[in-house]
Symmetry: C2
Subunit: 168 residues, 2 copies
């Protein structure tokens, strides 16, 4: 990694890169890609025409999916940051793939209808980086905006995955 | 409708039947179908192999989508019930298509990993039927179970759609 930024999800090990929301190896999935942007995280996503709720508006379940994957992606990046490196911007310490997280809970509030067509910008800020000793939890607040207007906001509680969960 | 049960979503007017989660007219969507079962509601759904999170487990965003669409479907059925008829089991009163609902907020707690493969059973119970005068809100609690084990539980706040939203 020499100056090139990578998406967090591009650096997940192959065995956790099949997620329907963000796995680079899931050809039928959404392949969401999240990046650091200062202390926040950001992802850009353009829904397909069939990701509709009522015609002309984005499906709420897709928005929930973007919130979910951006939240767990942010958790992975925060876990690495706590260990001292910037996921997607720096090479990991030798032998360290970075922690993996799964979603414990997800909340989404739909503030207004999200028009279908334009690119969505998904932003994450860290509410709880889980730096307390023994913590396995990272909490992220996520917004979805279109043309400068926030149309949905969510909160993701992610917990560090047990080593036995992911196989690998 | 003579004794045949229909899914709630099969009776949505065409202009709101394109939802990626439950629209019968969305060929690329999940086409979730929800029914009354006594005072509760139920839907059965078998995820596709690509609806994966970590290999072997169902993607949380799909589970959120099922919770969302079963919640709003249940809201539509509850709205009709409040007006005096059973959506999917009785013909509506002349000229009444039934109320339509959109999601105001969605919460999902992932209690344990949901194995990918078996059919999921999605159940809804009504927390607030919105029968108070002037209420536009129906609140539903939804569970997702597989092989008799509840793996996720959610709560959907649905609000009655303004007439101007859905076009039609």
């Amino acid at each position: 990694m020499t100056g090139e930024r990578s998406a967090f999800q591009d650096l997940y090990p192959d065995d956790v890169a099949h997620c329907y929301g963000c796995g680079r190896l899931n050809e039928r999935g959404h392949q969401l890609r999240s990046f650091w942007e200062g202390d926040e995280t950001v992802a850009h996503f353009t829904p397909k025409p069939w990701h509709t709720a009522i015609p002309g508006y984005v499906y709420g379940g897709l928005i929930a999916s973007l919130v979910d994957c951006h939240g767990t992606g942010t958790a992975a990046a925060v876990g690495a940051r706590t260990a001292g490196w910037r996921l997607g911007e720096e090479a990991p310490p030798e032998g360290d793939e970075g922690p993996r997280y799964v979603t414990a809970s997800l909340e989404v509030r739909y503030l207004k209808p999200t028009p279908l067509g334009p690119e969505l910008i998904v932003r994450g800020v860290v509410e709880d980086a889980g730096e307390e000793r023994g913590s396995r939890k990272v909490v992220t607040r996520v917004t979805v905006e279109v043309d400068g207007v926030v149309t949905a906001e969510g909160r993701v509680v992610a917990v560090r995955m047990p080593e036995s969960f992911g196989g690998g």
